[in-house]
Symmetry: C2
Subunit: 293 residues, 2 copies
Amino acid sequence: EEQLQAMIPQGHRDYVEAVLGRYGVPQLAADAESPMSLLGWVPGKARNSVDVALEHPIRLLVNALGPPPPDVTEKAHAHGVLVAALVGSAAQARKQREAGVDIIVASGTEAGGHTGDIATMVLVPEVVAAVGGAPVLAAGGIGSGKQAAAALALGADGIWTGSIWLTVKESDSSEALINKMLRATSSDTVRSRSMTGKPARQLRTPWTEAWDGADSPGTLPMPLQFMLTADAQARMHRAALATPEAPAAELVTTPVGQIVGSMNSVRSARDVIFDIVTEFTETAARLSALGSG
Amino acid sequence: EEQLQAMIPQGHRDYVEAVLGRYGVPQLAADAESPMSLLGWVPGKARNSVDVALEHPIRLLVNALGPPPPDVTEKAHAHGVLVAALVGSAAQARKQREAGVDIIVASGTEAGGHTGDIATMVLVPEVVAAVGGAPVLAAGGIGSGKQAAAALALGADGIWTGSIWLTVKESDSSEALINKMLRATSSDTVRSRSMTGKPARQLRTPWTEAWDGADSPGTLPMPLQFMLTADAQARMHRAALATPEAPAAELVTTPVGQIVGSMNSVRSARDVIFDIVTEFTETAARLSALGSG
């Protein structure tokens, strides 16, 4: 990890402080503890997480950003745990299946977080055709019963939802972020490399724009970009939390998909599920009438 | 039009010739007639096209790139012709309705040609909700009965297809382009401003890449970019047509959506329609069973 830290150019560190400075975010105290967590993006970290997960009564282990190593899949299977993986193309789906992954999550460009550029409407039928009968869940752009019905019409065996849970009553997102999401339209997200070095869809803010701007030094490859910016993310959130009207609140962003445009009120998780199921049933009946009409 | 021509920087003209030169496309003869057609992108041109269209027994007039002027809509209505418009956001849909447009075509980012960045899965429900009962057709990512069923599940009243017709037996696309489309995957398109100055999805080629490259002078605003490059497009097509193995063949591109990845054989238009209808009916029955199961 120290070797990786040494690979981050000083110019990039200076740029981060320059952007934060413009929005009144305090400098990191020299003795502050870094809140950075490298998740599974550097060797060693992912296997620890898998071991911890398998000590609990889980049913499914899901990964993204590439096929898991064979020993991880074998270990999961030995524990009776199925392995799923998020993919953005039919070619990635085939690679995951070759690596022993049980369930493929076809995640369209409209999804929040790391995402490719192929839309769910096109991706799902291609992935279903590519994996020869393996179960496929559709992800990206799905937060209602109509969208769930569309996903199943495309050939998916089920749906995988993410963004829709960020604004429920039970969400642990900060109030500042929840209010931002409630106000956002589907045009207010952007696929940006600013968070991790790989394209991840998130709310567009002056922070994401700063990395696309003319004076941007460019983003670093994963995991360096995350190492460079994780502290900055934590500091802008702290500054925004301390003073909601502070300029720092403008900077805070979160991974979220294009359905953020229809996330306009805080509902309970129970109501979200109920609405999806009810609307799905109505939609299936409506299509049935059209199909036989 | 001469005034517009004068607004094109010489550096941009030189860049076009430099890229074409790398691929062996001959210079434009000084006395050659320009094949350029500005369509409706400059004042005066669009109204002429409307007048010609209304002299024929047409049922529908469809426009893109912004609401039609009131007199055009009124003239169409006076002829008993309905007016439709392509939109990429709910806000655009509301503007079109305020301008008197009858039918809204909600066109997702996966569509070919001019397109926004919101995917069909997200866009269609938003547009349906925004236009309060006006008919909505779904476009973008639709070339099969499954995709048609998904579009109707999302709330569309019908579908609007484009790309799927580019590789049918009856297509007037060149053989070089048809072969390129048959080979392309859904990752082989790009939203590029290189054709018209506004983002239009098309096959990614060294030509589109040249406009995103480090030495690109940047694209010009509509209609200047089209005026700058229309001759170049015609010349690279002629060079590719004359010698299919010529490097110029690499340059030729065409507007097409992400479903190009599933356009892998030449079928008759009749078979395409039959397949869509058959698969739609099967899909509706399958969903009906799920909805009541």
